[in-house]
């Protein structure tokens, strides 16, 4: 799920950057430091959308670096248990399948794939219903429910299920072939 939130961060800046472009330097550094990172609480920072306020700098003893409290708006992405996500399948094997939704990596075990779908090995491994009408393979888009999440410094892992009503394939690239 995406959220637009306000976060605060203490930024350290070297005195050589002090001058008319101080603010630009701070913002550039903020983007570099924060975008693409994860925190367990807020999830993945997709983009900074604005800087609300830069507080008064505080000179650090001994180093000459200055710390600025920066309040900024950003879009974050964080999956939650119980959330329904749409994801693209990246890998299918006998244990289940892996899928991605942006920075989130999801694993759906074959235990949580409907029982009527069976694994088919071969050049394009897939899970298919016995009548062949539904197929999950690499590049398929699936709708799944998150049952577990873990947010690391740079990666987000989820356990998903498609064994429930209205879950499963929403777009099958192999259907037309």
């Amino acid at each position: 799920m995406f959220f637009h939130i306000v976060l605060e961060r203490n930024m350290q800046l070297h005195p050589r950057h002090f001058g008319p472009h101080l603010r630009d330097k701070l913002v550039a550094k903020l983007m570099k430091d924060v975008e693409g990172t994860c925190s367990g609480r807020h999830g993945f920072v997709v983009a900074i959308t604005g800087v609300d306020n830069i507080g008064k700098g505080l000179i650090r003893d001994g180093t000459g670096f200055v710390t600025f409290p920066v309040k900024y708006q950003c879009v974050v992405f964080r999956p939650f248990k119980g959330e329904i996500l749409e994801a693209v399948v990246t890998m299918v094997n006998k244990m289940g399948f892996f899928a991605e939704a942006g920075p989130v990596q999801i694993f759906v075990s074959n235990h949580l794939i409907p029982d009527d779908m069976e694994f088919q090995a071969g050049d394009v491994p897939n899970y298919t219903t016995s009548d062949g009408s539904v197929k999950i393979q690499k590049e398929s888009e699936v709708r799944l429910k998150i049952i577990g999440t873990r947010v690391d410094a740079t990666e987000i892992f989820c356990i998903g299920t498609i064994k429930d009503d209205f879950l499963g394939v929403i777009n099958d690239p192999g259907a037309s072939s």
């Binding site: 799920m1 959220f3 939130i5 306000v6 976060l7 605060e8 961060r9 203490n10 350290q12 990172t37 994860c38 925190s39 367990g40 609480r41 807020h42 409290p69 309040k71 939650f80 248990k81 119980g82 959330e83 890998m91 094997n93 006998k94 244990m95 289940g96 892996f98 990596q105 694993f107 759906v108 075990s109 235990h111 949580l112 694994f119 090995a121 050049d123 998150i146 049952i147 577990g148 999440t149 873990r150 690391d152 410094a153 990666e155 892992f157 989820c158 356990i159 064994k163 429930d164």
Partner: protein, 442 residues
């Protein structure tokens, strides 16, 4: 959390996180602090009615589910792959659950023993239904030979210019991979070998090389990713140092054959192993194995394509596959074991031979423990310590021993020990005259 060290979150964002977490709970009830325990409690109530049913289901499918398909968080035995430290059945963290890492499939994937066996079992059925077995392939000296570019000898320098383009891998056999500073020569026949073997076997690579190297080699052998996709096992995946083991291979032991030039690493799976004659193309490759002469590369020669090691072993693999499905599997589908078939076919090679060894090993060493003795027996020969009428071959490195002289007198075969090794690699009794003791001496 990365951000706690150098940043301070505003109070509002903390509240925000708690808020949405609550908001997203299924039936977010009351003002419970511990949402997790709340949910468990709720589920427990839901499951009271189905308790017996769900336990039965547990014993069969090992998936503790209620009748509506939801997973019981409290009774989950975590017998499912573990991803990112979470059980893929219930989503809970299971850090301490014993499991082997399957990093060759996904960096964060692990599987516990019971689940591994379950997967192997269910996989075996579908594998055999498709008339396929599993073949685990070593890389170095088995399918190819690599040398560090820094180790290329003066006489081999010409090869660097001749290297084939990485833009057209399917049509090349000699590659300079700058990323890993390696020069790699594919073993003659390897492309045909892989193509034909893949119709009979599910193929794995298992190398003691690093993952980065293994991935590159897989790319050279299989540029279209038709054979080895997610099945490249490297040193990084090994569960024991200097050992290869089938414990990380998603295949049942009784359906696996292994091709490798190094016997020692497979000490636990010798019955699955087909030992390969080493492919040394580059000069630097043979040296650690005591080869002092010129290498194939320096002689500008190569192993024979038509009857080289890979062509020979492909024929053996086809025979094993054929015998497995027409006899072993047909007569006993539940306990069919490819190791039995391998043993049987191997024992045909020297089946009517009765061997006596003379001065092949040091006096006082127990012959039964000797590698050659064992090898000859596995090839179907009968081995003896004393001469009698029925002896067909005397194996010796010396023509002057009593036994050697006896063989000549009685017009029996007197062969060098390499006659046995050759039969072992070529899977056929070799013409004795090519292995006479004088000829090979030294």
């Amino acid at each position: 959390m990365s951000s706690t060290t150098d940043s301070v979150h505003s109070v509002s964002s903390d509240e925000f996180a708690t808020l949405i977490e609550k908001e997203l709970e299924w039936n977010s009830s009351e003002d419970e602090d511990d949402i997790e325990s709340d949910r468990i409690k709720r589920r427990k109530v839901e499951e009271l009615d189905n308790a017996e049913e769900s336990q039965e289901a547990t014993s069969i499918a090992m998936v503790p589910q209620t009748s509506d398909g939801a997973v019981n968080l409290e009774t989950c035995l975590h017998q499912a792959p573990i991803f990112g430290g979470m059980c893929s059945l219930c989503g809970q963290f299971v850090k301490d659950h014993p499991a082997v890492s399957l990093g060759y499939i996904h960096k964060h994937l692990k599987v516990g023993t019971e689940e591994m066996n379950r997967i192997r079992g269910s996989d075996l059925k579908s594998l055999l239904r498709g008339r396929k077995l599993i073949l685990v392939l070593d890389l170095d000296h088995t399918l190819l030979n690599s040398t560090r570019i820094d180790d290329v000898s003066a006489e081999e320098e010409y090869l660097i210019k001749q290297a084939d383009s990485l833009q057209d891998i399917p049509n090349g056999s000699l590659f300079k991979v700058d990323m890993i500073r390696m020069l790699t020569k594919l073993r003659p026949f390897v492309r045909t070998f892989l193509k034909e073997a893949s119709s009979l076997f599910e193929l794995f690579i298992y190398t003691m090389g690093e993952r980065f190297y293994a991935t590159w080699m897989a790319k050279l052998l299989d540029p279209e990713e038709t054979y080895f996709n997610e099945k490249v096992i490297s040193k990084d995946d090994c569960t024991q140092e200097h050992r290869k083991s089938l414990d990380v291979v998603l295949g049942a032991d009784n359906a696996v054959l292994i091709l490798d030039d190094t016997e020692a690493v497979w000490s636990r799976h010798r019955e699955n192993l087909i030992l390969m004659d080493r492919y040394h193309f580059f000069a630097s490759s043979g040296r650690p194995f005591g080869h002092s002469g010129k290498s194939l590369s320096e002689l500008k020669r190569d192993e024979n394509e038509k009857d080289g090691a890979l062509a020979t072993v492909l024929e053996v693999l086809k025979r094993i596959h054929e015998m497995f499905f027409t006899q072993e599997y047909a007569s006993n589908p539940t306990n069919a074991d490819v190791r039995k078939v391998l043993k049987k076919i191997r024992a045909e090679v020297l089946k009517d031979c009765r061997l006596v060894f003379s001065r092949v090993w040091k006096l006082g060493e127990r012959p039964h423990n000797q590698r050659l003795w064992e090898m000859a027996q596995q090839l179907g020969a009968t081995c003896d310590t004393e001469l009698d009428e029925s002896v067909t071959h005397v194996v010796s490195t010396d023509t002057g021993t009593d036994k050697a002289r006896w063989a000549v007198q009685h017009k029996n075969f007197l062969v060098h020990p390499r006659w046995i090794e050759a039969a072992n690699y070529l899977w056929r009794r070799q013409p004795e005259e090519q292995f006479s003791v004088n000829q090979i001496k030294k």
